[in-house]
Amino acid sequence: MTTTADRTTKTNRKYRVIGTRPIRHDGHDKVTGRAKYGADIQLAGLLFGAVLRSPHPHARIRSIDTSKAAALPGVKAVMTGKDLPEKATPPGNFMETLADPQVLTENVMARGKVLYKGHAVAAVAAVDRHVAEEALELIEVDYEVLPHVLDVREAMKPGAPILHEDLRTRTTAQMPGDTPDTDGPTNIASHVQFVQGDVAQGFKEADAIVERTFETKPVHQGYIELHNSTASWSTDGNLTIWKSTQGPFIVRHQVACILNLPPSQIKVVPMEIGGGFGGKINTYTDAVAAVLSKKTGHPVQVVMSRKDVFEGTGPTSATHMRAKIGATKDGRITAVEVNLTYAAGGFPGSPVGSGAGTCLAPYKVENLKIDGYDVVVNEPKSAAYRAPGSPQAAFAVEPVIDELADKLGMDPMEFRLKNATRTGDRQASGVPFPSIGCVEVEEAMINHPHYKAPLEGPNRGRGVALGYWGNAGMNSSATINVTPNGSITLVTGSVDIGGSRPALAMQAAEVLGLAAEDVHPSVGDTDSVGYTGVTGGSRTTFATGIAVIKAAEDVRDQMIKRAALVWETQPEDVEFKDGVFTSKKNPEDTLTFQKLASRLMGTGGPVTASASADPKQVGPSFSGMIVDVEVDPETGKVDILRATLFQDVGTAVHPSYVEGQMQGGAVQGIGWALNEEYFYGDNGVMANSSFLDYRMPTSLDLPMVEPVVIEVPNPGHPFGLRGVGESSIVSPMAAIANAISHAIGQRLTTLPMSPTVVREALVNGDK
C-alpha cells in the first residue's frame, strides 16, 4: 500500500517544512494530562454556578420565585432572564457571528417563554456544586404548558403550535427589515431558493428519473469536554472569561451584545479545548457566569453536565428532504430538483442554506431548482456541526445519483465523472467555482485499488459518494516575536482544535528558514492578539496561516534590514535563503537567522511583527468515500469491511493531522450513518441524553479508514492550502447507504441505518 507520507514527500519536495510531520508542540502536556482546560481553572473565592432548565418543550413562564433558593445557606446569588438587559445591543460588528443577538440572549436564558426542554430559565451561584444544584430545586417556576411541535413537517402545517408570534418567513433576497413573505405567524423562518435553467424542460429531456424522500434525526457534535465558563468581574468593570470555545472573539462579541458592554472591557481567555466540531461557537453560560460574578463579587464557574449539553446545546438539524434527478441514456444529468427542510430548533438558524448551496457541488447541472426551509421546532437551538448542513443534503442527493446510475446501467463513478464540476463552472448559487479538484478526487477514487478490488459473498455491497465543503476565509491575526537565540514566538487568535499550532508554526518556519521546533506557537486571549474569527469553517490553517506568513515575511524583511545595517549595505544587497542571510556584494558575509537574532539590540531593538489576513480566494474541498459493507440479514447489523476516504486538501501542511481530520470526519459520518440519533418522547423530552444511551461508535465499532490525500494547490494561499477539517464528514452517510442498498437490494432513506431500520427494510421491502 502506498502511504500518504510517500505521496506527500514527493509532492512537496519544494518545501523544507511543509509536508513533514513534526511532533505537535502541545503534545506532551496533553498526553501527560498537564494541559489546562476550562474546568481546571481554580481562582480564590471561586463560586459554582448551576442552571435551572425547563422541563417542558414549550411553555409560557408565568412567574419565577427564587426566594427559597436564595435563602438556602451557601447560595450567594440567583438570577433569571430579567437580570440580562432586555435588548441585546451589538457594539458594532466585525461579522463575528451572523446570529441575531436577541436570539442569543433569549437562548442563554428564557424570558416569557421556554421553547425547548432544557432551555435555561434561572441560575444560582453557591459555595459548591451540590449546594447550587440543591438550590435549583427550590426555584419555583409557574409554567403555562403550551402544545409543542417536534417534527418539521408538523410544524409547517396550518394550525401547528407557533413558537414565535412575531416570526415571518424571510427569503434569501431579503435583508433584515424587508417585508417578509408571509403576513401571519409561521414556524418557517426562512426560505432559500436557487434556480438555474429550466427544470421542467430538463426533466422532459431525461430518459430516466429517480425521486426519493429522505429523513434524518438530530445528532450531536459529541465533543468529550463539557461546556464551561469561568467569569470574574473586577471592581473596575472589566470582565474576564476563561472557557472552552472555538472562538474567543465571538464569545467576546456575543457577551458584549448580551450584557451591553464595550468589547474592550471583556477579555476572553480560551483554554485548551476538548472538541468542538462547530458546537462551541455560540455562547451559552458565559453571560450567566458573568452576571453571577457581578452579583456576588466572586469569580463564578459554570460547567454543564452531559445531559445539559445534549438538551441545552445545539445538535445539528433533523431534516426532511426530497431529491429528484433526471439523466439521459448516455449519462448526462438534465435536471435536478431538491427540497430541503431543516429543523432549526427553538430559534431560527438551521444550516439549510449551506445544505442547499453545497448539495449539487460535485455536478455540473444546467437546470436546477433547490428549495430550502428553515423551520423552528421545540428542540434545542441547532448549532454548527462539521460542514453544517452539507452531510444531510448529500444524503439526499448522492443515493439518488447512485440509483440513477444503476437505472442507466452505468458505473456510479463513471456517471459522476461524466457530470463532474470543474473550475469555473457555476455553483447552485450562480457563483463560479474557483480552482477546484473535483475531477482529481473522482479520478483518484476510480484508480484506487479499493475501487477495483473484488467484493464477493452474499449480503455485501460497495458504495461510493462524494462530498463537498466550500470552506471559510474570514479574518485572522498573528504576532511574531524574535527571541535572542533565534527561536520565535508565534501568537495567533485561533484556538487549536485539530493541530493548528504546529500547522501554523510550520508555515512561519517555512518562511523564515527555521525548524518547526524553533517556533513556539500559542493561542492568545482577546487582549493579546488581533481580531481572529472562529476556529471553524476549516479556515484556521489556511486563513490564520496567511496572517502568519505575512507576519513572518515582515520579520524576514526587518531582519534583512538588520543584516544590511551590520554589513553597512542596502537591504536589496542582502539575500535570505534557508535561514541564512548573505551579502550579495561580499558573499563571505553570512549570518544565520540565529546569529543575527542575537544582534538585534544595537541594530534597532527587538523585531516584532503583527499581521492580519483577509483572504479572498478560499479553496473549497471535494472529497469522496468508497466503502464496503456486509449486512447481517438476520440481525440487520451493518459491518464496515473497508473504507477509503479521498480528499483534495490543496497542500498537506502536516500530513498526519490532515489524515487525522479526514479520518475523524469519516468516523463521525459513520456514527451518524449507523448509530446516532436523538430520541424524543411524546412529551418533547430527549430520552437518551447520555453517552450510554446516545450511541456514538467506539473504536471497536469502526474500521480503519484509509485516508487518500489529494493535493490540488489553492492559488489563494502562498503554499496552496485548502481547508481540510469538514469535507470528510459529508460523504460517509450516503456512501454507506449506497453500499447497503447494493448489499440487500433495498434503498434506505432514513438515518441512522441501525439494525432496526435495516431489518425493517429487509422484512418490509423498499419504502
Partner: protein, 328 residues
Amino acid sequence: MTPFRFAAVSTVSEASEMLRADAAGSRLIAGGTDLLSEIKEGIVQPQTVVSLQNVGGMREIVAGTDGMRLGAMATLTELEGHAEIRRSYAALAEAAASVATPQIRNVGTLGGNLCQRPRCWYYRSAAFDCRKKGGSICFAINGNSKYHAILGGGDCVIVHPSDLAVALVSLRARATIAGPGGERSMALEEFFAGPQVDIMRETVLQPGDVLTHVSLPAPSPNWRSVFMKSRERQAQDFALVSVAAAMEVADGAVRDARITLGGVAPVPYRVRQAEEALQGAAVASVDPARLGEMAVAGARPLRDNHYKAPLASNLVRRAVTLLLQDGA
C-alpha cells in the same frame, strides 16, 4: 445529587438489619456503577447507602467437586478471567466479558449486575413518571420502544438488563439470599420477578434481603454452553437481544438443554418449548431454525422493536447450531 450517609458494614447481617430498618430510605451498594447514576439522575434519593465492600468472603470464587460458589461481590473482571469458569461455564465468562467497559467490569460485581435496575430510558429519566417509579403510565408502550420487551411485558415493557443473568439461568445457577429470617436459596430464574409480581422491582428481594452468592452445579463432561449478544455498539452497550444456551450432548443425542434469552422480556426468558423439543432428540434430527421460531412464539412486538423477534429467533438458531457442532 442529595447527600446520603455511607455505611460500610462488616457483616451481612448488619447490612440486612440496616436495610430492613429503613426500607424506603436505604440502598445497598456494591460496585456502585448503577446506583450512583440513579442517584445523580434523581430517581432514587437514599438517606443511607450500605456498602458491602468490607464484608469478608463475599468476593470469593470457589470451585469444588460439587460445582462453584460465586460471591456476590466478585467483580465481572474476576468472573471473566477465572480459569474454571472459562473452562466449564463458558457462557458465563463470555457474558461477563461482554458487559460495558473494562473500567466498569473492574468495579461492577456479580450481585450488582444481577440486581441492576433496567436501562429503560423512561425509567432512567426523572422527566418521565413511569409505572416503575410509581406513576401510572408506561411511556414505552406508545413511545420509543426500540430497546423494549417483545415478550412478557404487560404493564411495564422493560427488558432485564443483566447479561450474567441470562448465562447463569441457562447454567442452572442458584441464588442464595440472606435476610431477616435467615438464609434461603432458589433457582436463579425464580430470583427474578416480572411486572406482574411487583412492577416496582425486578427481583424477589424483600427489605433486608441481601444476595450473598450464586452457585453453579458441577459440570458434566459433555456439557457445553455459549453466550451470544447482539448490540448496536461493540463496547459499552446493552444487549438488543442475547442468548445463552447450555447443552449436554452424548451418543448423538441431546441429553439436556437450556436456552435463555436476554433483551426480550422483563426477566431472563427461558425458551421452554425449544428446550423440551431438544430433550432426548437425536442430533441429526434437530432443526435449529424451528427452535428459533419456537423461541419467539407469542412475541408481541411494540412499534419500534419488531426486529427483535427475528433477531432472537436467529440467535437461538445460531447458538444451538454452534453447540451441536461442538458436541458432534
